[in-house]
């Protein structure tokens, strides 16, 4: 067991003032808790189990990402796989992720420094399948980027790793980076109930991934 500290960053710019009140809805919390297999032991001790609607704590911030992943498509409640990834992304993620845990990952996170990994997924035979979210996921990413990270990790949870270090060899590999790009691009294009900042961040993050995480550049930006 590790101990860590955090300082609360600006709640407007992270999108938590926009999405926090939406996730604070008991029917949604009940559903998400089961659908993503949260466990009390992974979200107590300061991570928010005792105050789920507190926007400064990790659990609320994770649920805001899940709310964004669930309800941003203008076609909701359709989650058809014949639609785009904004439509079926949540369906895929909740079915692929075995359990969603919060961990420190780094000893501290504050507005002056928030280093380290954002998330991690392990899977495979004779492995305890799980997805872990670390402090930078909660405190150094806006809500729409958190949703994109959950899509990325769900692709791993489905058994698809990267095929060139932490990168994908190509767009055609159809790996976690492509899925994250597609979700972010569709969110920016037709995501509902969101802000200019969330959309623009999504577009820029999608292009950063295209320009950085494919061994063979796909030749386009979004």
């Amino acid at each position: 067991m590790a101990s860590c500290t955090y300082s609360v960053p600006n709640l407007d710019t992270s999108g938590d003032n926009l999405y926090g009140p939406r996730m604070c809805w008991q029917a949604f919390i009940d559903w998400a808790w089961d659908a993503f297999d949260f466990d009390k032991d992974d979200w107590d001790e300061g991570f928010g189990y005792d105050n789920v609607c507190d926007k400064t704590q990790p659990l609320s911030r994770a649920l805001s990402g899940i709310w964004c992943l669930t309800y941003s498509s203008p076609h909701f409640p359709s989650e058809s796989y014949s639609g785009n990834i904004l439509e079926w992304g949540c369906r895929f993620a909740r079915n692929a992720i075995d359990e969603l845990d919060a961990r420190c990952g780094t000893s501290s996170c504050s507005p002056s420094s928030c280093p380290g990994a954002i998330a991690y997924t392990q899977w495979g035979p004779f492995t305890d399948d799980l997805t872990r979210l670390y402090l930078p996921f909660f405190y150094n990413q806006g809500v729409s980027l958190r949703a994109g990270t959950i899509i990325h990790e769900s692709r791993h949870a489905d058994g698809k790793g990267h095929d060139s270090g932490n990168n994908d060899s190509s767009w055609g590999y159809n790996g976690a980076w492509r899925w994250q790009v597609c979700w972010l691009a569709w969110f920016a294009f037709e995501g509902t109930q969101t802000s200019t900042a969330m959309r623009t961040q999504a577009t820029q993050r999608a292009n950063n991934i295209i320009n950085n995480n494919f061994v063979t550049h796909p030749g386009f930006n979004v």
């Binding site: 710019t13 872990r132 569709w186």
Partner: protein
């Protein structure tokens, strides 16, 4: 392979909260800046309109905008990337030609080292996003103040990390400086000039699944989609 990172295996971790300072309370311009980032993060037309109004006031009345913004920006250092990204967005809309130098410095700020052992996404990616916003903010400033357009070429000539370089190449091309950029790039980098804007329909992921199987844990409907009758009150007074 998965992106690697390990913490303790048994039980949960524990976390302590510390409250942060209020960076926008230092001056009238700081307060206006705070209002701008607040409205930039609202999801309605009223918020968008209020944002344009605040930006207009910042443009006309805040001589100390750059000074105030850089003070807040520097206090963040390498955390709270979302706040720094938002500050740059506002500077792109409200800043004058004096902002160009600062935006170039942010765009060229060295990124944390790429460490494969840490995981797929790290703080390097968040710093990359901040630098990307600096490039696009500079584009917006250059559209209003064409005399600073050449600052984009300074970014290209410094050859930052590839994603930042590509953003600068795109922006310079959109500002009509494609030929100058071609001269600054090596032959091996000329492909960056040919990156096209994809139509959204081209950007699709193959789910490798079909409808008809178990959908599992269907999300609750909300708002107008929720058509069941609502209970207005929960108790009835007995006489």
């Amino acid at each position: 392979m998965p992106c690697q990172n390990e913490t303790s295996k048994g039980g949960g971790d524990s976390l302590d909260l510390h409250l942060d300072s209020r960076p926008f309370d230092l001056s009238p311009t700081g307060w206006l800046l705070g209002q701008a980032v607040r409205y930039l993060n609202t999801a309605d037309k009223e918020g968008e309109f209020a944002y344009t109004q605040v930006v207009e006031i910042l443009r006309r009345c805040s001589e100390d905008l750059l000074e105030t913004l850089t003070r807040v920006f520097r206090s963040m250092k390498s955390g709270d990337s979302a706040l720094r990204w938002n500050l740059l967005y506002v500077l792109g809309d409200a800043g004058n030609e004096k902002a160009a130098e600062f935006l170039v410095r942010v765009a060229l700020q060295p990124l944390p080292d790429a460490r494969e052992d840490l995981g797929c996404e790290t703080e390097r990616d968040m710093e990359m996003l901040v630098s990307t916003m600096a490039v696009h903010a500079l584009q917006k400033v250059a559209r209003r103040h064409p005399e600073v357009s050449d600052y984009i070429l300074r970014i290209v000539s410094e050859k930052p990390a590839r994603p930042i370089l590509i953003e600068a190449v795109k922006v310079a091309s959109e500002l009509g400086m494609k030929d100058k950029v071609r001269e600054l790039l090596s032959k091996e980098e000329h492909w960056m000039l040919e990156i096209r804007q994809a139509r959204i329909q081209e950007v699709f992921a193959e789910p490798e699944r079909e409808d008809g199987k178990e959908r599992g844990f269907t999300p609750p409907k909300s708002g107008s989609l929720y058509t069941a009758p609502r209970s207005v009150c929960c108790t009835r007074k007995e006489k």
